[in-house]
């Protein structure tokens, strides 16, 4: 690539940019024409925000699912999602608010049933007091753990001391009593209707956003997705039906009294707001039953584990107490303790303490005292450390057996040796022996001993004994006597 100096450059755009630019322009045109038809002002940017809303909704759902999973209740996630959805429909509280509130409660209580109960209470309290659902849920979660500071703002008629002293059940009862029916009343107000509209439109945005993502995925890119989505909107106008319905409801409300509007809504099968503390799943009892059963089994398992743990701890305590009691009758320890009470020098005291540590198997103390004793005896610091950390000594007499076996073998060989008999194979020669006798003739006045007396030529083996014991076992006994005269550990030999 050559070096360039560019003069008078002009931006002409990149191919990919141009393609996307065209797609967005087309989408803008489609959306604007649709908006004109509906009499509202819509832009493509609005649909991008819908996509964001869908993404945020998904992220919140994933967050709650993860929190439930971390509590070990992953099995309940589908039921919780269903519960949140139904709760949203019935109370007209957006799932964006319900999920964080539920998460706070379930994290604190670790109980599905209790969290549902508290969420119902929280919705009523939120609607009655004007506080946000998140704040109320947080206050309830804190109160469950014993921190009732946040409950002062609800004016329950209790002093700080009374709040601190009251149990959570009492506080919950008070809240339910004070804010009962607040949610129902709220939905009938103007603000409640606006919120209903907002919720419907919010859900529409999320649906539109999800549709957008689906189309992007199908078209293989954002430019293609925008094009396809624009055509889809032009052709069908999907997703606006719900909004149209909500807008229609609002208009209807302006033209009739409250009672008539209630009747109108009742005709449309709108379920009443939940009564605090009562189960929400009247219509979905199978879900309810499954959840309750799972909760019960889990509680039973936890209780069983707890009891087993308690029993184990009690048993261990008992054993430790018995062992400690047993040491009272240990004579060696009694003697050492008695000796320690006497008047002793430092070195003697240390020796006794070391003995006691060895008796009671107190390794840490034993090491420490060995070290101190070695220092006290004038040994070098390094040597004292080495002594304190010596591994278990191997048997110094291990090699002796082999040596002694060899000696025994040699002795047996000697005993078994058969010399050649006198005269056999030796030719007769003239001449005399050292005594002057002629060789080959009997020695005068010589009486030979009886055969078998001496080892040569057969007979009993020679046995060497020390203190009435054979040499091998005698030597072994000597060295094991502990007498320093016989054992020299440093040189490895023996005297």
């Amino acid at each position: 690539m050559s070096l360039l100096v560019q003069i008078a450059a002009e931006f002409t755009g990149i191919k990919a940019f141009r393609k996307a630019d065209n797609a967005v322009t087309k989408l803008e045109k489609s959306v604007k024409s649709l908006g004109r038809a509906l009499g509202v002002s819509l832009t493509a940017a609005a649909f991008v925000s819908f996509a964001k809303a869908a993404a945020a909704d998904e992220a919140a759902a994933a967050k709650l699912a993860n929190a439930v999973k971390n509590l070990g209740m992953e099995f309940a996630n589908p039921y919780i999602a269903d519960y949140i959805s139904k709760m949203e429909q019935q109370t007209k509280v957006a799932d964006d608010e319900l999920r964080p509130a539920f998460q706070a409660l379930i994290t604190q209580t670790s109980s599905l049933a209790k969290s549902q109960e508290l969420l119902s209470t929280a919705i009523n309290v939120s609607r009655g007091s004007g506080e946000s659902l998140a704040t109320v849920a947080n206050d309830l979660a804190q109160a469950y753990a014993g921190n009732t500071k946040g409950l002062k703002k609800y004016y329950l008629g209790l002093t700080s001391a009374q709040l601190a002293a009251a149990s959570f059940t009492e506080i919950q009862t008070l809240l339910n009593k004070q804010f009962s029916g607040a949610s129902t009343q709220y939905l009938n107000t103007y603000q409640g209707q606006i919120d209903t509209l907002s919720l419907a439109f919010g859900n529409l945005q999320e649906s539109a956003g999800r549709a957008f993502f689906t189309l992007i995925g199908g078209a293989g890119g954002s430019a293609g997705g925008a094009n396809t989505f624009g055509r889809f909107l032009e052709g069908v106008g999907i997703g606006l039906e719900k909004t149209a319905q909500s807008i229609s409801d609002w208009f209807v409300r302006q033209t009739m009294s409250q009672d008539a509007f209630d009747a109108y809504l009742a005709k449309r099968n709108q379920a009443p707001a939940p009564t605090p503390g009562k189960e929400l799943f009247k219509k979905s009892s199978s879900n309810d039953y499954v959840l309750m059963k799972l909760e019960k089994d889990r509680q039973a398992l936890i209780k069983k584990q707890l009891n087993a743990q308690k029993a184990l701890t009690a048993e261990q305590k008992k054993q430790a107490a018995l062992k400690k009691a047993g040491t009272i009758f240990d004579l060696a320890q009694i003697q050492i303790i008695a000796a320690l009470k006497g008047d002793l020098s430092d070195e003697e005291r240390k020796r006794l303490e070391l003995q006691l540590a060895l008796e009671t198997e107190n390794v840490t103390e034993a090491k420490k005292l060995t070290y101190e004793l070695a220092i006290a005896q004038g040994l070098g610091v390094k040597l004292a450390q080495d002594l304190a950390s010596l591994p278990a000594a191997s048997n110094p007499f291990a090699a002796w057996k082999g040596y002694l076996d060899e000696v025994e073998l040699q002795a047996k060989r000697i005993a078994a040796f058969t010399p050649m008999s006198v005269g056999a194979g030796i030719p007769a020669t003239s001449g005399t022996d050292f005594g002057g006798n002629k060789i080959g003739t009997p020695v005068p006045n010589f009486t030979p001993p009886p055969s078998g007396t001496y080892g040569i030529g057969g007979g009993a083996p020679v046995v060497v004994q020390i203190d009435g014991k054979t040499i091998a076992s005698a030597l072994m006994d000597q060295s094991l006597s502990g007498n320093q005269a016989y054992v020299n550990r440093r040189t490895g030999g023996f005297d």
Binding site: S2, A8, E10, F11, T12
Partner: protein, 173 residues
């Protein structure tokens, strides 16, 4: 960063199509501004005796450095200009006029030491001066020539385009 203009390329296209003599005249005018800069730039290239002897191209040279060895004549041939619009680069820009240094040895001489500094055993012996703006706009040959030109060529080209535009619209009306 080169001066950004709008519509210059479209103008030149229109000139070529509708006013060819005006197009030729404009091209000549642009060339007249670029030639002195290029001549200057060629003058900054050293002769074969002035560069390290090991780098000078030898006859029948083989290996990797066969195409990278320095030959003054080849390097001078590699420094030139172009007055027709270039292709868009990765950022989407097209230039109306370009001065380039095409040869490998010329590029080595142009850019040696502009990132790591004039250090070591080779770069300090090259001579020349590194001039320009920014790391990628600095060099010993074309960048130095443009820097020393102080934007006169650029201004002249802009004026030439403006005159061409005025003449074009004057004639079109």
């Amino acid at each position: 960063m080169p001066t950004e203009v709008r519509g210059a390329i479209a103008l030149r296209k229109a000139l070529r199509q509708f006013e060819p003599d005006l197009a030729k005249e404009t091209t000549k005018e642009i060339t007249s501004f670029l030639k002195p800069v290029v001549k200057n730039a060629r003058g900054f290239l050293p002769s074969n005796e002035e560069v390290p002897s090991g780098w000078v191209k030898r006859p029948n040279q083989g290996g990797r450095w066969a195409n990278r060895s320095y030959d003054a004549a080849e390097a001078r041939r590699g420094v030139s200009f172009k007055s027709t619009p270039s292709k868009p680069n990765r950022n989407g820009f097209r230039s109306l006029a370009t001065i380039f240094n095409k040869s490998a040895a010329g590029a080595i001489y142009e850019t040696a030491g502009r990132k790591s500094g004039v250090t070591g055993k080779f770069t300090p012996h090259l001579g020349g001066q590194l001039k320009g703006k920014g790391q990628k706009g600095t060099g010993r040959v074309i960048f130095r020539a443009v820097e020393e030109d102080q934007g006169k060529a650029k201004a002249g080209i802009m004026k030439a385009l403006k005159r061409a535009e005025d003449k074009y619209y004057g004639r079109v009306k």
